[in-house]
């Protein structure tokens, strides 16, 4: 088996439909960001579109968890012990188990919510971030940026479960949230250890994290206003080791991403 498996070789059964993040990014329906100014875009049970959006989000979580599983797995294999010490691989193996459980939970929650595997498309950007050649960048891009996003998403879904009277959704999301806090802490710890003697490498890894954070805030998907479906979960991010400045920076990137979407919409007319 070769090291560094390209994204186009990810193995899937025939139910999965892949789409590129560029296609998703350029989808004219993203322009609805401007319409959101007239009402809340938060995931709330009172909105007519809420069940469909929650199902789509759950499917997104499901495919994201598969890729997180695959990415953590590749990190156990792609590097020798000098680049990724045994203790890091051990943590990644543990993350494999956690992500495998998250896939199982997501499949069952998807069925519970009335969707099925393949109803929505799969974008593979998470795996691409998970398979950059530098393990430090994998940790910043996946464990800090994307697992951080997962904290926001799971907390949003947990609150949605609460608000819509769905204790099963609330229960499952809360358990997954606990795992994600652990993964973010793990990523922060290892990023610090791997780059202790190399500030340039740490700077590059943190820049990559900012890029990923902005990309996954696209179109105002995540933020702290009524216009963002997914809300930044400050309390859980603090538990995971983010300081206030770091959370403020993510909020600023999210606001920037929403402004970018509006600009594109204005240009498109």
């Amino acid at each position: 088996m070769k090291r560094f498996l390209p994204v186009d070789e990810l193995a899937r059964d025939e139910r999965f439909v892949r789409t590129s993040i560029v296609a998703g990014f350029n989808d004219p329906r993203n322009g609805r960001a401007t319409e959101r100014a007239i009402s809340s875009a938060r995931l709330e049970p009172g909105r007519a579109a809420a069940p469909d959006r929650a199902r789509a989000l759950m499917h997104g979580i499901f495919v994201g968890e598969i890729q997180a599983l695959e990415g953590a797995g590749r990190t156990t294999f792609d590097f020798d012990d000098a680049d990724a010490p045994f203790a890091l691989k051990l943590d990644m193996a543990r993350q494999c188990w956690d992500e495998a459980r998250h896939v199982e939970i997501s499949v069952k929650l998807g069925e519970h919510m009335g969707t099925e595997i393949g109803e929505y498309t799969e974008s593979t950007f998470l795996y691409e971030a998970a398979c950059v050649p530098d393990p430090a960048m994998r940790l910043s891009g996946v464990n800090r940026a994307l697992e951080g996003l997962a904290i926001d998403v799971f907390n949003t879904m947990k609150e949605f479960g609460d608000a819509s009277g769905d204790p099963v959704l609330h229960f499952c999301e809360d358990w997954m949230l606990a795992d994600e806090v652990t993964h973010v802490k793990m990523g922060s710890d290892w990023l610090r250890r791997l780059t202790e003697q190399d500030p340039d490498r740490r700077a590059r890894a943190l820049e990559f994290q900012r890029t990923v954070d902005k990309l996954f805030s696209l179109g105002g998907f995540r933020g702290e206003t009524e216009e963002n479906p997914v809300q930044i979960a400050r309390r859980f991010r603090e538990l995971a080791g983010f300081d206030t400045d770091e959370i403020d920076e993510i909020a600023a990137l999210a606001a920037e991403a929403l402004a970018d979407a509006r600009s594109r919409e204005a240009v498109a007319g």
Partner: protein, 218 residues
């Protein structure tokens, strides 16, 4: 019999039949534990790498779970090595011989998405049975008093191995649904078994018997 706490009692209750000594010296136990750890490390890395290469969703999830099991086994063995006077565990975490390295290289080699049967056969029909045999031999042969910490780890690890083997075998049986698939699995197992025989088992010659290094006998 008085039970006022002052009457002398034997150190070993009548039902406690543990014996001194065992078949392995400190050095031999460390050598074997280091060899096991090397195998567990290569195996968990391979299972992790394979997750992205198998299209079957249930297999993908099982590989994710088992990946951690084997990583945890490696951690248990690594933690034991300094207690066996091997202060640099990396020095002892090596394949027992070139044949074991060749066996693991062959087990790990399949990559293509259509080779799930070959991947699982190598792990669940060759490597895990070999590990179960080696660990059971160690468990039974070493002193249950002096090497009790290794035994305790081996018991936990064997529990995982039995359960994982069963789950993997069931996956294989559900995938092998044609004579052609059965032939593929059999050919793969035969190819790898030959390598395992040439290596003398996962701990080298003496994996299930007399060790090439001096032993302590009762």
């Amino acid at each position: 019999m008085s039970n006022d706490g002052r009457s002398p009692r034997p150190a070993f209750a009548p039902w406690d039949r543990r014996e001194l000594p065992g078949l392995f010296s400190v050095e031999e136990s460390a050598r074997r534990v280091g060899a096991y750890s090397w195998v567990e490390q290569r195996l968990f890395e391979a299972l992790g790498g394979w997750i992205a290469t198998v299209p079957e969703l249930d297999v993908k999830l099982v590989l994710g779970r088992h990946c951690y099991h084997h990583a945890w086994h490696a951690e248990q063995f690594q933690a034991r090595l300094p207690e066996l006077r091997e202060m640099n565990p990396a020095r002892c975490t090596v394949p027992a011989n070139d044949g074991v390295a060749a066996l693991l290289e062959a087990v790990i080699e399949p990559e293509a998405t259509e080779h799930t049967i070959e991947k699982l056969t190598g792990v669940f029909r060759v490597l895990l049975p070999r590990k179960i045999a080696a660990y059971t031999y160690h468990l039974n042969a070493t002193s249950s008093i002096t090497d009790a910490p290794t035994q305790r780890s081996l018991r936990f690890i064997l529990q995982d191995e039995f359960e994982d083997w069963r789950e993997g075998e069931m996956l294989l049986q559900s995938l092998i649904t044609t004579p052609e698939a059965a032939a593929r699995a059999a050919a793969r197992a035969a190819e790898l078994e030959a390598l395992a025989v040439a290596a003398g088992g996962i701990a080298g010659p003496g994996t299930l018997g007399a060790s090439p290094t001096p032993e302590v006998t009762p």
